[in-house]
């Protein structure tokens, strides 16, 4: 064995120690460098991350604005609704608890299934074991009471109140008010992410949809600190939500309800406008449906039932139903004849019951088989003689007729504050060329003159045209919003009504008088088509009947009597009216689907509207 050289070894060790010390120092420098990198160079990045980690913004949904009628009757409000929830971490045996719960509260198998599925996927649904997990939505008062008594038996189970939309009048004005429903995936993409962060519902139809911005309000937020498992630690900052504005509609709910009642078994639509302002007094699409069905999701069977109902309760006939105006266009066509100087009021036409164009064998029938004999403009309108208007239309030509009717809003959107309004059709040469790529024929001018053929109007357009006649050309924009109001400050916001340049100023007063007199004679004249409803009226009013063919009658076929036809093949009955004549307070358009002639069912509905509005009472329903 070699002799150990302690001195040499010691020197070797010292050298190694120095190298080791240098290495240690360098490696510590590496660590410090990394700390410098993280804490100084990347400080902002990590600071932001740590803030985002702990601070969560919890949106506070605003209270949705209420909807009232013009007199302050509530049409839509918010009401507490109760749901049964369970906090998993507070419940020892969840299966046992739910089993016992079912003894006192009715929980369907589907609800149970949904709950169990939710429990299995808490994380995926962004829920935690310390969150309220809903078992059943919408408890009845009875169930709430029963649970309250047995509360002590169910630790960790709660009844939670939340606010739900309610429509106290159920199906009244359903197509106007519309409803809210749960926000769906498509809406989620279009709605403002921040504004709707706390909201579960959004307006789906009607006023609820059109004035969504007004009703919704501004979301509030609570900035809270949460730990890694999302448990609340403390509140940092709070901005309260700003409730949505309350909406006052122009609707008179009493009138609305009376008119809805008046329809009886019939379906159809009524629009009543105040001619001086354009405010819509009633807007009825019958039948309606209970708006409350949609708030928390309608069951698929119920929805199917509504959808397959032959009466189409979900269909908004007011702005989306398009009907041939029939003879209700005659006052406008007559006025066009006077305006363009094609006829004079006293010019007479002989009506043999049909009309023939030169060199064409086709017979254009008058509704009165044996003819009206000699007819002037007044009689043409009052007795609704088709032959008179075939002749007038032929003289007028489609271009002038189309231009003139267009000024009354036929075939155009009225711009009412409801979503999804349809245009209707105002036929013209350009229209036919564009849509059908065919030339215009004379025969088509004739049937357009009596409101048949291509012409389609919505009940709303018809009412607007009637209001224009009542106003003698003064345009008002039909609208449903009277004003909306900030619930806190009571600041009112009036609707922005654009009426610029739409008045019909170049029709002479005399011409207006002639037409309005003729419409007066429709109800008050000896031979007026609606003389039945004008007979006992304590006020004077003007009107016009109309019949819209649902099914075309062939050339050689005898027109059948209404009673002989299958219900769905019967003609639609129309009536327009305004009253009183000198200072009109109300203009009405009525369509009774498959009601047969305008005088038999549509006119009585109009009378009910007028009575109710002008006299404050009306009687009953049509048969």
């Amino acid at each position: 064995m070699e002799i150990k050289d302690n001195f040499k070894e010691k020197r070797l060790f010292s050298n190694r120690t120095i190298v080791a010390a240098i290495m240690v120092f360098l490696m510590l420098i590496i660590l410090i460098a990394q700390m410098f990198n993280l804490q100084i160079l990347q400080y902002e990045k990590y600071r932001t991350r740590s803030v985002n980690n702990r601070l969560k913004i919890e949106p506070q949904p605003p209270r949705r604005g209420l909807i009232y009628d013009r007199d302050g009757v509530i049409l839509a409000d918010n009401t507490p609704s109760f749901q049964l929830t369970l906090i998993p971490e507070e419940v020892k045996n969840i299966n046992d608890t739910t089993l016992r719960l079912r003894n006192i509260i009715e929980i369907s198998d589907e609800e149970m299934e949904r709950f169990e599925k939710l429990m299995k996927n808490l994380w995926r649904n962004n829920l935690h074991r310390f969150d309220h997990i809903p078992i059943k939505f919408q408890l009845t008062d009875n169930e709430v009471a029963r649970f309250a008594i047995n509360r002590h038996l169910f630790p960790g189970v709660y009844v939670k109140a939340h606010i739900a939309r309610r429509y106290p009048l159920k199906e009244v004005a359903s197509h106007i008010i519309g409803y809210v429903g749960r926000i769906n995936e498509i809406e989620l993409k279009t709605l403002d992410y921040f504004d709707y962060a706390g909201s579960t519902h959004v307006g789906k139809t009607g006023i609820e949809k059109y004035y969504e911005d007004v009703l919704h309000g501004t979301v509030g937020e609570i900035k809270v600190e949460k730990n890694v498992s999302g448990r609340y630690i403390r509140t940092i900052e709070e901005t309260p939500p700003k409730p949505g504005n309350d909406i006052y509609l122009t609707i008179n709910s009493t009138l609305q309800m009376e008119v809805e009642k008046a329809f009886g078994k019939y379906s159809g639509a009524v629009v009543a406008i105040e001619p001086s302002s354009g405010e819509i007094l009633a807007m009825v699409s019958q039948p309606g449906y209970d708006l409350n069905l949609f708030v928390n999701g309608i069951s698929s069977e119920k929805y199917k039932e509504l959808q397959q109902d032959k009466m189409q309760p979900l269909f908004n006939r007011l702005t989306r139903g398009q009907y041939p105006p029939g003879s209700t266009t005659k006052p406008l066509v007559g006025l066009a004849g006077l305006y363009y100087g094609v006829i004079k009021p006293d010019d007479e036409v002989f009506c043999p019951g049909h009309y023939m164009l030169p060199n064409v064998s086709h017979k254009y029938r008058c509704w009165k088989k044996w003819g009206h004999g000699k007819v002037d403009l007044n009689h043409g309108i009052a007795q609704s003689c088709d032959v008179y208007f075939y002749d007038l239309s032929y003289k007028l030509g489609i271009d002038r007729m189309s231009t003139f009717l267009g000024r009354f809003g036929i075939g155009q959107k009225t711009g009412i504050d409801l979503p999804g309004e349809k245009t209707g059709i105002l036929p013209s040469r350009e229209w036919k060329k564009r849509v059908k790529n065919e030339p215009w024929f004379h025969g088509e001018t004739l049937i357009s003159g009596i409101g048949q053929g291509f012409t389609l109007t919505t009940p709303l357009q018809l009412a607007q045209a009637t209001a224009l006649i009542a106003n003698r050309g003064k345009y008002v924009k039909p609208h449903l919003l009277k004003y909306h109001e900030d619930p806190a400050t009571k600041n009112k916001v009036m609707p922005d009504l654009d009426t610029e340049g739409k008045d019909i100023e170049d029709v002479s007063n005399q011409d207006w008088n002639t037409i309005i007199q003729a419409m007066h004679d429709v109800v008050h004249g000896k031979r007026g088509t609606a003389r039945k409803i004008g007979k006992d009226a304590p006020f004077t009013f003007a009107g016009k009947t109309g019949t819209a063919q649902v099914f075309g009658v062939k050339q050689d076929e005898e027109a059948k009597k209404t009673e002989e036809l299958a219900f769905e093949l019967r003609d639609h009955a129309l009536f327009i009216a305004f009253a009183p004549i000198d200072k009109p307070k109300i203009a009405v358009a009525v369509i009774v689907e498959h009601g047969g002639g305008g005088s038999s069912v549509a006119a009585p509905v109009a009378r009910i509207v007028l009575d109710q509005y002008l006299l404050g009472e009306s009687n009953g329903t049509i048969e």
Binding site: I3, F7, L31, M35, Y46, N53
Partner: protein, 381 residues
């Protein structure tokens, strides 16, 4: 000795011992080292109070562990290095037997078989090896003429590889690497030639792929992969390292202040009192705190290395050098791991992390260093 005649004055100078104080003479403790360790322990308690949600129970538990660890240190410091030398082979032999026992009758915990259950307490034999391996290697070289021959290096390596292999089989990669490095440090201080050192390093580096393919478990591979790209799996494996870096980075220059670290207080930081305690510290005390912490560590290491240079025989020198460098490995691996420089290996931050076993081992190691320093004779023979 032949060279004594002219080396004596120098040796006298080198081993000249100043007047020993009471602590040094009677308690056999080194004042500076003791001060550094106490300071670190206090820092550890301060951080623990915050990271443990101000739970005094945790503090008391840790205080008890520290007490035990310090008592063990004091006890070992009283044992002279000569006794340690004599014990080394027995200690090492017993350790090997226990490691084999673990593989046969050990208790499984978290997928690894590391524990021996003695009814009253559980015990990890690998902890013994953290001390036994450097002791045994130092023992082996104590009577050799250094620098060692190639054959002696091979034998030294075998002393290291046997327990390392046994521990790696449990599997406990972190500890086996730590023990391997502690043995290696002894060989390094024994004077392995630089050329051989570089060659060995080269061989190890090129063997890494083989190691990867045949010896590493999937979870270990996963750790390495996660380390390379933590953002790839931010919710799973990468979560720890992302949250840890966020805690450190968001501390900035001066930190968020004691008890105000949101990452740790709100549980975003995992293992915030144990392996990731450094991140909790960095979040609350910033780069300033980190610098001070690392400075204290550096001073402890420098003192340890100095004690090695003052040691009077080969065994003491090698043992002291390898123990203090192993201490540094703990620090470097832990901080490197929590800051994203190294893959996640379950090593605690010595003296600061909450937990007992490793603290006892580390303090026992310091006890040996203190023994080496306070049992010096006036003249070496």
């Amino acid at each position: 000795m032949e060279l004594n005649s002219y080396s004596a004055p120098q040796q006298l100078k080198g081993t000249q011992i100043r007047q020993l104080s009471f602590i040094e003479k009677t308690l056999h403790l080194d004042t500076l080292l003791l001060f550094g360790l106490l300071l670190m322990s206090c820092i550890g308690l301060v951080v623990l109070y915050s990271s443990g949600n101000q739970n005094m129970g945790l503090i008391y538990k840790q205080l008890v562990r520290m007490g035990i660890a310090f008592i063990i240190m004091i006890a070992i410091a009283r044992i002279s290095p000569d006794t340690l030398l004599r014990w080394a082979p027995w200690f090492y032999g017993a350790g090997i037997i226990l490691l084999i026992a673990v593989l046969i009758v050990g208790t499984k915990s978290k997928g690894a078989q590391r524990w021996l259950n003695f009814g009253l307490f559980r015990f990890q034999p690998s902890e013994i090896m953290k001390l036994a391996v450097p002791m045994m290697v130092s023992y082996y070289y104590s009577n050799k003429n250094l620098p060692p021959s190639f054959k002696q290096i091979v034998i030294g390596s075998l002393i290291i590889l046997i327990p390392t292999g046994l521990i790696a089989k449990q599997p406990d990669l972190g500890t086996s690497l730590l023990i391997a490095s502690s043995g290696f440090f002894a060989i390094y201080f024994a004077g392995i030639s630089w050329r051989l050192l570089l060659t060995a390093t080269g061989i190890f580096a090129s063997a890494a792929p083989i190691f990867w393919t045949y010896f590493m478990h999937d979870y270990q591979k996963q750790r390495v992969l996660t380390f390379l790209d933590p953002e790839k799996d931010p919710r799973g494996a990468g979560y720890h390292i992302i949250q840890s870096q966020t805690a450190i980075g968001s501390g900035g220059t001066y930190g968020k202040g004691w008890l105000n670290g949101t990452q740790s207080q709100l549980d975003f930081l995992p293992e915030r009192s144990t392996d990731f305690v450094f991140s909790a510290f960095s979040e609350e005390f910033g780069l300033m705190g980190v610098s001070i912490l690392l400075l204290v560590y550096f001073l402890i290491i420098v003192r340890g290395l100095f004690i090695g240079t003052q040691a009077q025989n080969t065994f003491s020198r090698l043992l002291c050098g390898s123990l203090i460098l192993t201490f540094f490995v703990y620090i470097f691996v832990n901080i490197g791991m929590v800051s994203g420089l190294l893959p996640v290996v379950g090593l605690p931050l010595p003296l600061v992390s909450y937990g007992g076993t490793s603290m006892v081992t580390i303090m026992a190691g310091f006890g040996m260093m203190m023994s080496i320093h306070t049992h010096r004779k006036l003249y070496s023979s």
